[in-house]
Structure formats: structure tokens, C-alpha cells
């Protein structure tokens, strides 16, 4: 077979198809136009991420300072979102709560995700008995609902931010490994992996350089959904009193105790932290959907 030199028309067609280099502004506009819903998601995530990052500068009050002269005050110019039953400013606590949520969410998702990635790709690559044993172990871990597993871990290690991260990370690992493995299994049989093996490349080189890049798309999509799940799990555990402990500001914790008690007389105590959780996870999920559309061309037309 001979390869024809590119004809003038051929290059012309190719040049037309090529994506012209664009500036940041132009490509942003392009993304917003193609993924309007995903852009809303990014804005929401960025907003809460910014709030968490710069809570020290943004918060009008100390989030842990009690003010017994201003308890359960309705939203006003002094306290935009009102105060809780101890006179703490709700806006300040929501800003600092964003920090807790993102620290727990991102750490759990990243650690759980990458451990799952290694296990999943490794399991698919080595196959045979290792795969069989690993899959059965993951089956067992998967049969524990996330919140139940987290409860068990918390009862062993105790409460507090670090233990909550561990409690949420552990159940995420098998879920990630399962999805990554099924994507990696398909790639294991592809000729270039055979070729790499025939060339005598090391296991780690084949896994990292040839297999991992091919599972990146489903992995990233899952990672974003993990961040949302982890934030929800942290809120649930904190709400149950088994997660982050007072006086650390956390959204789930803000909904515990006082929020229900004062719900009818001071609804702002219960409404705003919940809205913060919902909007953040909503934003993450919108972003995840847009990411899936971009990374998975098969879904683009749907």
C-alpha cells in the first residue's frame, strides 16, 4: 500500500477542519455556548470554592463567636442570613462550612479515586487469580452501603474531620475500582498493549503509560460525582453527630439540633445551610454531566 502525498485540496479541507487557536475569552465563550448548563455548574462550584478558600477575608464575623445579645435573629443588614440559637452569624458559618465541605469532599474523592484507579487497572491488567480474588473482596466491600460503612469506620476511629475523611474514602475505593476495571478490561485486549508487553516493558510502565490514559474519561467523570457524594456523606454524618464536631463550622452540623428545634420560629437556621449543600452538589453534578458530554463523544448527540 502506498500512501499518497497530500493533495492541495486535501490539505485545504484539513486546514478548514482544524480548530483555530483561540484566546481564553473566546474559548470560554465557546464552552458557555456549547455547555450552558455545565457552565452554571462551574460557576456554582467556583463560587463556593472561592468562599471556602477565602472565608477568613469574606466572613463578616467570627464563625465560632457566640453573641448572646443577638440570638436567632432574622436576616438583616447586620446579619445577612440571620443568626443561630447561639447568636453565631449564619453567613460566616456557611462560608467556613464551604471550606470543611471542600476539604472533606476533595480529599476523600481524590484519595478514594486514585486508590480505586490503581486497584481497578491492576486487577484488569494482571487478570486471572489476582483479579478473581480482588473482585470478590470488592464485592464484599460494595455490599456495605456508603453511610453504613462510614458509620462503622467512625465508630472505630472516632469523630472529627480526619476520621470523617477516612470514613468516606474507604467506601469510595471499591466503587471506583469496579468502574475502572470494566473500562480497563476492554483495553487489555487492544493490540498496542500486547505490543508493549511483547517489547518487554515493565508492568508499571504498561499500566501507567498505556492503560491509565485510556480510562481517564470515565475516571474523571466518576471523580466529580465522588466529590458530590462525599460532601453529602459528610453532611449526613455531621448531622447525625458522628462527623465533624463543634465548634468547626460544617453545613451538616448547622442543621443538627437547633435547626429542627427552631425550624418554625427561625427557619433561616435550617434553610440556608441546606441550600448551600444543595447548590454545591448540584453545581458539581451539572459540571460532571457537561464533562461527560465533552469527554465521551458517543453521548454528544444525546
Amino acid at each position: 500500500m502506498t500512501i499518497a502525498a497530500p493533495t492541495p485540496t486535501g490539505t485545504a479541507v484539513f486546514a478548514d477542519d482544524r480548530i483555530p487557536p483561540r484566546g481564553v475569552v473566546a474559548s470560554t465563550i465557546r464552552f458557555v455556548r456549547r455547555q450552558p448548563v455545565g457552565s452554571i455548574g462551574i460557576v456554582l462550584v467556583a463560587l463556593f470554592g472561592f468562599a471556602g478558600l477565602f472565608a477568613d477575608f469574606l466572613a463578616p464575623y467570627n464563625p465560632t463567636a457566640n453573641d448572646f445579645t443577638a440570638m436567632t435573629e432574622a436576616p438583616s443588614w447586620a446579619h445577612w442570613l440571620g443568626t443561630d440559637q447561639l447568636g453565631r452569624d449564619i453567613l460566616s458559618r456557611i462560608l467556613f462550612g464551604a471550606r470543611t465541605a471542600f476539604v472533606v469532599g476533595l480529599t476523600s474523592a481524590l484519595v478514594g479515586g486514585f486508590s480505586g484507579l490503581v486497584l481497578g487497572v491492576g486487577s484488569a491488567y494482571f487478570g486471572g487469580r489476582i483479579d478473581l480474588v480482588l473482585q470478590r473482596l470488592l464485592d464484599i466491600l460494595m455490599s456495605f452501603p456508603l453511610i453504613i460503612m462510614a458509620l462503622a469506620v467512625v465508630s472505630i476511629f472516632g469523630t472529627g474531620v480526619h476520621n470523617v475523611i477516612a470514613a468516606i474514602t474507604i467506601p469510595l475505593i471499591p466503587r471506583c475500582a469496579r468502574v475502572v476495571r470494566s473500562s480497563a478490561l476492554a483495553i487489555r485486549e487492544v493490540p498496542y498493549v500486547d505490543a508493549a508487553r511483547a517489547l518487554g516493558f515493565s508492568h508499571s510502565r504498561i499500566i501507567l503509560a498505556h492503560m491509565v490514559p485510556n480510562v481517564v474519561a470515565p475516571f474523571l467523570i466518576m471523580l466529580t460525582s465522588f466529590v458530590g457524594q462525599a460532601i453529602l456523606a459528610e453532611a449526613s454524618l455531621s448531622y447525625l453527630g458522628l462527623g465533624v464536631q463543634e465548634p468547626v463550622a460544617a453545613w451538616g452540623l448547622m442543621l443538627q439540633g437547633g435547626a429542627e428545634e427552631y425550624a418554625s420560629t427561625a427557619p433561616w437556621i435550617a434553610v440556608f445551610p441546606g441550600l448551600a449543600i444543595m447548590l454545591t452538589v448540584f453545581g458539581i453534578n451539572l459540571f460532571g454531566d457537561a464533562l461527560r458530554d465533552v469527554l465521551d463523544p458517543k453521548l454528544r448527540e444525546r
Partner: protein, 323 residues
């Protein structure tokens, strides 16, 4: 089919055994000595002999493998021991609280199916219209909303509405009565929690219905069905939906197991005396026998419902059982 059925059912046992081993290990990892807590709670000093006697009484002086075999033997006979906190048999503690949890779970499933399948189908049929956008937003919001917050908000709404209508706020009582004894009172207790849990459940299933429908609607047999002039209703209901429901059933089955986990939080909000609330209590009280039994119960429900989904799938799709 028989071979697949037998091997799939048999697979449940090693998984259950593994889960039991994991629960056993987790419970042994919990720091602290139960006997020290028991004996020391009064603030009085106690002798080493009393400690040894306590260890012998609950059997933790024996070698670990004997303890494990005893635990497994107990599970096989549905004997979970006695609660360390209330002193009552664990099985009795669970049995009195299981009905309300099960009813909420079943009702939430029904609500989820009733919402998810029609909305998911409409969303797929009207792809990329405002209807589709609205349904998708509704479903993503369902996944993003913490169920306990939705619970608090719905209680607030009921209180405010009843206040506005009748002049004084009303809340359903929290004493559970079985459905057959007092259906209205039973439903008034179970309805709100079921809707709260069911919303998230519906959201997950709705997304699955939509994407499965979109895939099926592009199949050749749908084009053929339309080309031979079948009514659109028949094409959608008989040809498309029937095939699209396969993955939806899987999601519903798998989510059912996780629903029980979700109840842990929801029951807390609604003050429902079910197994979820019992589990939080048992963890807080460090009641190991009760926690152990409850975790095993939830895990068993998860493993068995996964198996049922697999079997149902195999029954529907001959490619699986013959592979």
C-alpha cells in the same frame, strides 16, 4: 439457565461469609474493652478477677477463631446475642423496629418507580426541549439534595400549611401503627419519609430511564415498528420501554439496598423508630452486638437484592445466562 441460577445463588454464601468476617474484624478493631466500660462506669475500682470473669462471661477470653466460628454459628441460627445496652435479645430489638423501615423503603420504591419511568420516558422522547431540561434539572436536584434537609423542609411546610389552614400546626404522631390496623394514621406517618427518600431514588432511576430510552429509540427495530405503521403509543410502550427497562430494573434493585442505608438519616429527622435510628443509637452507645447484627442485616439485604437483580436480568436477557 439452571447452571447460571445455581452458581449465582451459591456465590451469595462466600460473599456473606466475607461480609461477616469484615464485620467481625471491624468490631474487634474498635478500641477499648467493653468490660472496662461496664465495670468502670460506676466510678468504683474493680479487681482483676472481676475483669477476667466479665471477659469469660461474654466469651472474649477465647481464641479469636473460636469466637468467629461462634459468631457465624449464631448468624446461621439467627441468634445475634443480647443487646449490651438494653439487655434484651438483639433479634427482639430489631424485629420491633423493622416493619416501619421496610414500609418506608417499599413505599419509597413505589413512589420512585411512579415518578421515574414516566418522567424519564417523556424526557427522552422530548430530548433537548424545555421539558427535557426541566426533568433533568429536577433529577439532578434530587441527587444533590440531602434527604435529611428535605425532611426538615417538608416538616416545616406541613407545619406552616396546617397552621394556615386550621389555625394550629399539626404533625403526624410518631407512634407507628401497622397498615392493617389504622391505614390513615399509618400512611400519615410513613408518607413524608417515603417521599423524602423516594425523591433521590426517583432521580437516579429517572436518569437511567432517560439514557436507556434514548439508546433504545435509536435501534433499527424501533424504526421498523414505526415504518410498518404501528401506533406511536404501541411503539413506545411495547417496543421501546420494555427493552429500556432492563438497566432501570438494575438501578432500582441496587438502590433498594442503599435505601436502607439512607434510612439511617431520614429516620433521625422524622423521629421514626426504625432500624436506621436504632443503628445510630447503637453506634453512639457503643453497643457492639446490636451494631454488628444491624450491619449484617443491611449487608444481607444488599447482597440478596443484588442477586435477585442478576437473576431477573438473566431471565430477561438470554445472552447473560447462556454466556
Amino acid at each position: 439457565m439452571h447452571r447460571y441460577l445455581v452458581s449465582r445463588v451459591l456465590l451469595v454464601f462466600p460473599t456473606l461469609l466475607g461480609a461477616a468476617a469484615l464485620v467481625f474484624i471491624l468490631m474487634r478493631l474498635i478500641p477499648g474493652d467493653i468490660c472496662l466500660v461496664r465495670l468502670g462506669s460506676g466510678g468504683t475500682s474493680f479487681s482483676a478477677a472481676a475483669l477476667a470473669a466479665c471477659h469469660a462471661e461474654i466469651g472474649i477470653d477465647r481464641p479469636w477463631w473460636l469466637q468467629f466460628l461462634d459468631f457465624i454459628w449464631g448468624l446461621a441460627r439467627f441468634d445475634f446475642g443480647t443487646s449490651m445496652w438494653s439487655g434484651k435479645p438483639v433479634i427482639q430489638e430489631i424485629a420491633s423496629r423493622f416493619p416501619v423501615s421496610l414500609e418506608v423503603a417499599v413505599m419509597a420504591t413505589l413512589i420512585a418507580i411512579a415518578i421515574a419511568i414516566p418522567l424519564g420516558t417523556i424526557s427522552a422522547l422530548k430530548q433537548n426541549t424545555w421539558i427535557d431540561l426541566a426533568v433533568r434539572t429536577f433529577s439532578i436536584a434530587g441527587i444533590a439534595t440531602p434527604s435529611f434537609w428535605l425532611g426538615i423542609m417538608s416538616i416545616l411546610l406541613v407545619l406552616d400549611l396546617t397552621q394556615a389552614i386550621s389555625g394550629h400546626p399539626w404533625m403526624p404522631s410518631i407512634d407507628y401503627v401497622p397498615l392493617w390496623k389504622d391505614p390513615i394514621r399509618n400512611l400519615s406517618i410513613v408518607m413524608l419519609p417515603a417521599i423524602t427518600v423516594g425523591y433521590r431514588y426517583a432521580a437516579v432511576s429517572m436518569r437511567m430511564t432517560r439514557s436507556a430510552m434514548l439508546e433504545v429509540l435509536r435501534e433499527d427495530y424501533i424504526r421498523t415498528a414505526r415504518a410498518k405503521g404501528l401506533l406511536e403509543k404501541i411503539v413506545i410502550n411495547r417496543h421501546a420501554l420494555k427493552n429500556a427497562l432492563l438497566p432501570v430494573v438494575t438501578v432500582i434493585g441496587i438502590e433498594f439496598a442503599f435505601l436502607i442505608g439512607g434510612l439511617v438519616v431520614t429516620e433521625q429527622v422524622f423521629n421514626l423508630n426504625g432500624i436506621g435510628r436504632l443503628m445510630v443509637l447503637s453506634v453512639q452507645n457503643q453497643d457492639y452486638t446490636l451494631t454488628q447484627a444491624l450491619v449484617m442485616l443491611v449487608v444481607t439485604i444488599a447482597i440478596v437484592s443484588n442477586m435477585l437483580v442478576d437473576l431477573f436480568y438473566a431471565w430477561l436477557d438470554p445472552r447473560i445466562r447462556l454466556a
